[in-house]
């Protein structure tokens, strides 16, 4: 039997934050968008700690700020780290100083079942044709470009959607991304495994840090401790992949073993019990999660979120990278569909900005790992930037093509970023002290400045809308159109210099 064939402007594969963001911002420009999600929402997902640009930038652009504010999510004002040379936790706060801590200098810890559902329902309200329980089985392409997808509908019928663009936001386990070509390059540096579960009754950091994520290093790795509600805590151990065999046996015992060797988390969980029922009752693992595809697009197709790349859980960058890419993809496709600029030009902007964001966070997170020194520990010795693996660097040099002059220069760049960061952390000092409340040392390091650049632009865009002004981020690059939903060529509009 021949499949049922439909037409659309864009097919988005995957209903997570990246897919919902892209789909919503395409529909806002009036395009016909079909979003195919293989599961039925709400569904479980990991990656629970958000950054302000997602909440106050993307959230406002999508029009979900109020809904998010009313969802009861834990408010975080930053991250607290038992990490590096200071035996006392220190804070990375979103506000540079207490007097500048306004409503936009916080983010949320979210149950992804709720957060992702809010974003997906919002996409549908904006006109996206959302189809759940609809797994994509194949990508339709010819030599010239990608033309659409095949999927199975909830009744088991084979269907085809022909579209001008396919956005692959189908996550880390899907194979749809292979149709973009290139290869997936795994990072040797962040070659970790995560083992995670949920606890009731864990302690909290003292206010106003009680909503912060806590990341605590121990000999064999580090533990995330995310307060999802007053009583529910997400706890995950990030350890070396060499320990994979230990996770084959009793995972419960393994997780408790890691917790027992991480003093602050052990204390926080002293009176807590692990959740053993319902969606949070399972212990889960993730491995091989740090990778990037060598290309993010081909004519007619673009990768967004975990389908494209993921770095590491340590600084809550997963949802940021995904929603940022969703925004970039929507801008790019809206531009082409409007006939404003050529596809090659706008996707050069897409790839350039997305790669840049990946690169600056990769550098930042490498510096973060480098800060923790533990000569006795295999895990931490292997995660010094001076030990960056050759294949890792080669992959990285390929990605930032031309930006660096080779491996040695790259190691020096990473080492400098790491030294800057370690120095700034030392000068900032412990949490809840006078110096520890002020982030100018940290925000002043070149690597953090780079990390903040686009996140700040997105926040300003979210708050100021059309009044927001943005400069080209890349040499000779494009700028967002006044409504922020497509690209414009600044060279074509010289009168707007002011």
């Amino acid at each position: 039997m021949s499949p049922i064939i439909e037409n659309a402007d864009v097919v988005v594969v995957g209903g997570g934050p990246g897919g919902s963001t892209a789909a919503t911002l395409l529909a806002k420009r009036g395009h016909r968008v079909v979003l195919l999600e293989k599961e039925t929402f709400p569904r479980y997902q990991i990656g629970e700690s958000l950054l302000p640009s997602t909440v106050h930038g993307i959230g406002r652009i999508l029009g979900v700020s109020e809904e998010l504010a009313n969802a009861g999510f834990t408010v975080k004002r930053g991250g607290s780290f038992r990490w590096g040379t200071n035996p006392v936790p220190w804070n990375f706060l979103f506000a540079v100083a207490p007097e500048l801590s306004g409503p936009t200098s916080t983010a949320y810890q979210v149950e992804r079942m709720k957060f992702d559902d809010i974003l997906l329902r919002n996409a549908a309200r904006n006109g996206v044709d959302v189809r759940e329980n609809s797994p994509v089985t194949d990508v339709i392409a010819d030599e010239e470009r990608v033309r659409g997808v095949r999927y199975t509908d909830p009744d088991g019928n084979e269907r085809e959607i022909h579209a001008t663009f396919v956005v692959d936001a189908s996550g880390n386990r899907s194979r749809v991304h292979q149709h973009v070509g290139g290869e997936r390059i795994y990072s040797e540096f962040f070659k970790n495994i995560a083992l995670f579960g949920y606890f009731e009754g864990g302690k909290r950091l003292p206010a106003p840090d009680s909503g912060n994520i806590l990341c605590a290093a121990f000999d064999e790795g580090w533990i995330w401790y995310i307060p999802l509600s007053d009583t529910l805590t997400s706890v995950g151990a990030v350890i070396s992949r060499e320990h994979a065999s230990r996770l084959q046996g009793d995972q419960e015992q393994a997780l408790h073993g890691f917790i027992d060797r991480c003093a602050i988390v052990k204390d926080f969980l002293a009176d807590a019990t692990r959740v053993t029922e319902g969606v949070y009752g399972e212990l889960r693992t993730r491995k091989d999660y740090s990778y990037t595809n060598s290309t993010f697009h081909r004519p007619g197709m673009v990768l967004v979120g975990d389908a494209a790349c993921f770095i590491d859980p340590v600084f809550s960058t997963g949802v940021h990278l995904a929603t940022y890419a969703g925004l970039l993809a929507a801008r790019s496709i809206n531009t082409v569909l409007a006939g404003d600029l050529a596809e090659a030009r706008v996707f050069e902007e897409f790839e350039g900005r997305y790669r840049r964001e990946y690169r600056v966070f990769y550098e930042f997170l490498s510096a973060f790992y480098d800060m923790q020194t533990n000569e006795e520990s295999y895990f931490w010795k292997a995660r010094k930037v001076t030990n960056l693996d050759t294949t890792d660097l080669e992959a990285f040099v390929t990605l930032v093509a031309g930006a660096h002059s080779g491996e040695r220069a790259l190691v020096r760049t990473f080492q400098a970023a790491s030294d800057d960061l370690a120095g700034a952390v030392e000068r900032t000092g412990s949490m809840q002290t006078t110096s520890g409340e002020r982030m100018h040392h940290l925000f002043g390091t070149p690597v953090v400045r780079e990390v903040m650049a686009e996140m700040n632009n997105i926040q300003v865009r979210g708050v100021q809308g059309e009044a927001a002004r943005e400069l080209p981020l890349l040499d000779g690059g494009l700028v967002p159109a006044p409504d922020g939903l497509s690209w414009a060529d600044p060279a074509a509009r010289p009168e707007e210099a002011r």
Binding site: L100, M452, V460, Q464, A468, R469, L471, A497
Partner: protein
């Protein structure tokens, strides 16, 4: 880019955040008058477009027109030397 432009941009930004924006002197702390982080980021971008290379952090550290004007003057001198 000059100090007059700076003052008028600040007045505009303050008008966005305060119902009845107060008059401000060059050495008034603008954060105390209601200027927030978003407005500071936005000013930094606008001024960068006009050739004044001050970042958000620079503006946030010393939030007065007087301090920013000094920075502007220094950057203009640097520019002339080139």
């Amino acid at each position: 880019m000059n100090i007059e432009r700076m003052r008028s941009d600040v007045a505009e930004a303050l008008a966005e955040v305060a119902e009845e924006p107060a008059a401000f002197a060059d050495d008034d702390n603008l954060i105390d008058l209601g200027l927030d982080s978003i407005r500071l980021m936005s000013l930094a971008t606008r001024w960068r477009a006009a050739g004044f290379e001050a970042g958000y952090l620079d503006l946030a550290m010393e939030p007065t027109v007087a301090a920013w004007a000094q920075r502007l003057e220094a950057s203009n001198v640097l520019e002339e030397k080139r």
